[in-house]
């Protein structure tokens, strides 16, 4: 292998005497090794190990106009509505009052936030305290073997659907990108939020968003 031929040519000593040439038992493997490394380089560079994953998101059912009429507005408690535009996130808590509510509260103001740890994440952790405490309590039970995993999963689903859990609405304007949207949904999943509703933006909200984003 990769021998350097010594005493090349094999000429020299034959003075008419015929002697069987000693043939070498070594095969030159250099081309094969070259090829092996070539293939190795190719596969190393082309292989991707990270298989894409999926993130599930349930959308609200689409209602016809007639069905919409039958729905009466309900009072929303413990909710955050996110408004996305370009790469910015705005939000307001609970209900939306463009002109202040009858009880004399001031009109809703949009607050800006971002994807830093003390932005959306801190906000959600504060709002979703109930589910986070519930998870800690249940995880302790699982650790001390008082609860099995399947019951834990079931209890977590129940906790996320509880009245005290945070509800999140996501509204986008026509400039929001998918990256922004998916990043936000990802933050919601990190914060254990079970009720996520991507819904259409209202005209009054859109106006407010435009005024704010300027």
């Amino acid at each position: 292998m990769a021998e350097i031929a010594e005493g090349g040519g094999g000429g020299g000593h034959d003075k008419g005497k015929k002697r069987a040439k000693k043939s070498s038992t070594k095969v030159d493997m250099t081309p094969m090794v070259d090829l092996a490394f070539l293939l190795l380089t190719f596969f190393v560079l082309t292989t991707t190990f990270a298989k894409p994953k999926v993130m599930s998101l349930v959308y609200p059912a689409k209602l016809t106009d007639e069905e919409m009429k039958d729905i009466k507005p309900t009072k929303i408690n413990n909710a955050i509505t996110f408004l996305l535009t370009e790469d910015k996130i705005y939000y307001y808590e609970d209900e939306f009052f463009p002109k202040g509510n009858p009880q004399g509260e001031p009109p809703t103001e949009l607050k800006e936030t971002n994807f830093s740890p003390d932005g959306v994440r801190a906000l959600l952790a504060k709002g979703n305290k109930y589910v986070i405490q519930e998870r800690e309590r249940l995880e302790k039970l699982v650790e001390s073997k008082q609860m099995v995993d399947s019951v834990f999963t079931q209890k977590m689903i129940e906790a996320k659907q509880n009245k005290k859990a945070l509800k999140v609405l996501i509204k986008t304007d026509d400039k929001a990108t998918c990256k922004n949207f998916i990043d936000l949904v990802d933050e919601l999943k990190i914060a254990d939020i079970g009720m996520i509703a991507p819904v259409d933006i209202l005209k009054s909200e859109l106006d407010l968003l435009k005024a704010k984003a300027k």
């Binding site: 292998m1 990769a2 021998e3 350097i4 493997m29 090794v33 092996a36 490394f37 293939l39 190795l40 596969f43 190393v44 082309t46 292989t47 991707t48 190990f49 990270a50 298989k51 894409p52 994953k53 999926v54 993130m55 599930s56 998101l57 349930v58 959308y59 609200p60 059912a61 689409k62 996305l84 740890p117 994440r121 986008t172 026509d174 400039k175 929001a176 990108t177 998918c178 990256k179 922004n180 949207f181 998916i182 990043d183 949904v185 990802d186 999943k189 990190i190 991507p198």
Partner: protein, 217 residues
């Protein structure tokens, strides 16, 4: 003085090289070349892509592409499409080629021409993707609707086969799933129009393709 040989024994190194070649060859999965490049957003979700899927791609420019995982379901799908769009006429060979095609995106009128192209030519093919904005002639809606029906049937067949093989299959694994592959740079408004098509068909449970990122601690 003995002459020292200039050669080094390279056997261990070559052994290792071949071992690595073998490993990477087996680990590599051949990725079918898609007619469109998509920059996938990231999330912490670690759910694998299910087996029986209807996949809709939205690229950075808002063009829409369609894909189904099961070739048998695709045969049923194209037959349903030919039943609805009378102008769409495909030869037996083109139908065969369609079932083998991965992601595709073109109007129904362009389809016969599109099928006859090679994989590389499909990348270059100048198309606006599957039409999905028009509410009366929404071709994407038909692809999804017929695709869903075909996938339900093929899923049922696969479930029965698994049952007959004495396995204990979970029916949930055979129900078709709906997957959206959106480019991170595309406007959400584009994706929303596709999502609305799904919602009109009462398919509200959607999945977004994301690549894995580390969860924060």
């Amino acid at each position: 003085m003995p002459k020292s040989s200039p050669s080094i024994d390279m056997t261990p190194m070559v052994d290792l090289a071949f071992l690595l070649v073998t490993f990477f060859m087996l680990a590599a999965s051949i990725r079918p070349s898609d007619p469109v490049d998509v920059d996938i957003p990231t999330s912490i979700s670690d759910m694998a892509i299910p087996a029986n899927v209807v996949l809709v791609t939205v690229d950075a420019g808002g063009r829409v592409f369609f894909k189904m995982s099961d070739p048998e379901a695709k045969r049923e799908l194209i037959n349903s499409m030919m039943g609805k769009y009378k102008s769409l006429k495909l030869t037996e060979k083109q139908v065969e080629e369609f079932t083998l095609m991965e992601t595709f995106g073109c109007t129904v009128g362009e389809l016969p021409q599109y099928i006859d192209l090679s994989t590389d030519e499909r990348r270059q093919f100048n198309t606006s993707g599957i039409p999905y904005l028009d509410s009366t002639k929404n071709q994407l809606k038909d692809w999804i609707d017929f695709g869903n029906r075909a996938a339900v049937n093929s899923g049922r067949t696969a479930y029965e086969v698994a049952q007959m093989d004495g396995l204990n299959p979970d029916p949930k694994d055979f129900v078709p799933k709906f997957i959206l592959r959106v480019d991170s740079k595309t406007l959400y408004a584009n994706a929303q129009k596709v999502i609305d098509v799904f919602r009109e068909l009462e398919l509200n449970n959607l999945n977004f393709i994301t690549s894995l990122e580390m969860a924060p601690l």
